[in-house]
Subunit: 181 residues, 2 copies
Amino acid sequence: MAVREGLLALLIPGERYGYQLKTEFESATGGVWSLNVGQVYTTLDRLHRDGLVDFAESDGQKLYHITAAGRQELGNWWHALPSDDPPPRDELMLKVLMAIERDRSHGLTVITEQRTAIHRLLQLQRRRRNDDGHSSVAASLVHDSIVVRAEADLRWLDICEAKLLSESAPAGRVAHPLPGG
Amino acid sequence: MAVREGLLALLIPGERYGYQLKTEFESATGGVWSLNVGQVYTTLDRLHRDGLVDFAESDGQKLYHITAAGRQELGNWWHALPSDDPPPRDELMLKVLMAIERDRSHGLTVITEQRTAIHRLLQLQRRRRNDDGHSSVAASLVHDSIVVRAEADLRWLDICEAKLLSESAPAGRVAHPLPGG
DNA sequence: CGACACATGTAACACGTTACATGATTTG
DNA sequence: CAAATCATGTAACGTGTTACATGTGTCG
């Protein structure tokens, strides 16, 4: 549910060819989200099927435009408030949770590995930021998003590790792991 | 590519019925990721098709077990390092970028709305944390993940706003109110 | 008996993604 | 002319998700 609304949004300023949308989508996302042209057309088909876009055809070329229903839908999307029910399916989270489920030490291993990798990725991103002269606002924001997310992941991994370590009885004091603790 | 590997991971301790996997998946994820039973079976079919699991059938009941190839695959997944190429497709990001693309003021509107909503969500989560006695480690970690992610999103939205405001600032004398930017 | 958990599955559909095929027009 | 860009599409496949159908066993 992202490409869909993205294309819809790009039709707000005016009518466009499918091909144009690919280009504009990529430029709007700072050139980091490439889009296969084919996907644009299949997505436009689905949008048309759902009555969210329509087109005027001439000479085999189709000028797409957004419909009233499309504007409605797009508005809903834009103003839709994030919810945590159900919580978003996150891969890193599943990876760690499943590793813990297997056994605590494996959980710690995976946590350490991921943290190291994310840390490297962060440094790479920061170096890239210095090199880059800031091509576009979009590219810059995408960059920020990656960095902020990575930092959050690091923080979460730290929390995981701390909880795992505190849970696995500190020597001498705790006799048994607490159920439901 | 998440449920797939999740089920695979749950087969590490030993053989399981499909039905069991649903239960265990949900408990391993703190009871917040519900899984339709049907999905377990279709996913197991695909895993079997790919040679990652096999099963022994008796009386119409199938005991699944992970294969060598499955262990291999699972190991790859667990130790796979996150990459930013291509950067992950994030909905909030697209929402904001597309809003900005439409026009700056709409971008600011969406940013404000999202921030408010996420802020509320965060407070709700924190209240929930206090109420909850924390049933399981998994549930607790899921909770932390949601909180940390939400905080990251808030931070990113702040950055977006700042950049938008500084960008639309009077030409000629550009100030840089951004820390770390 | 009725409700519920255990156990298995199919059908249909959603979106995302890639590879491939076709042709017109522009440009070096 | 050749290559790149513009423009449109199809086919195939992947995962995720829901609704639905079926049957056994157990417990009150």
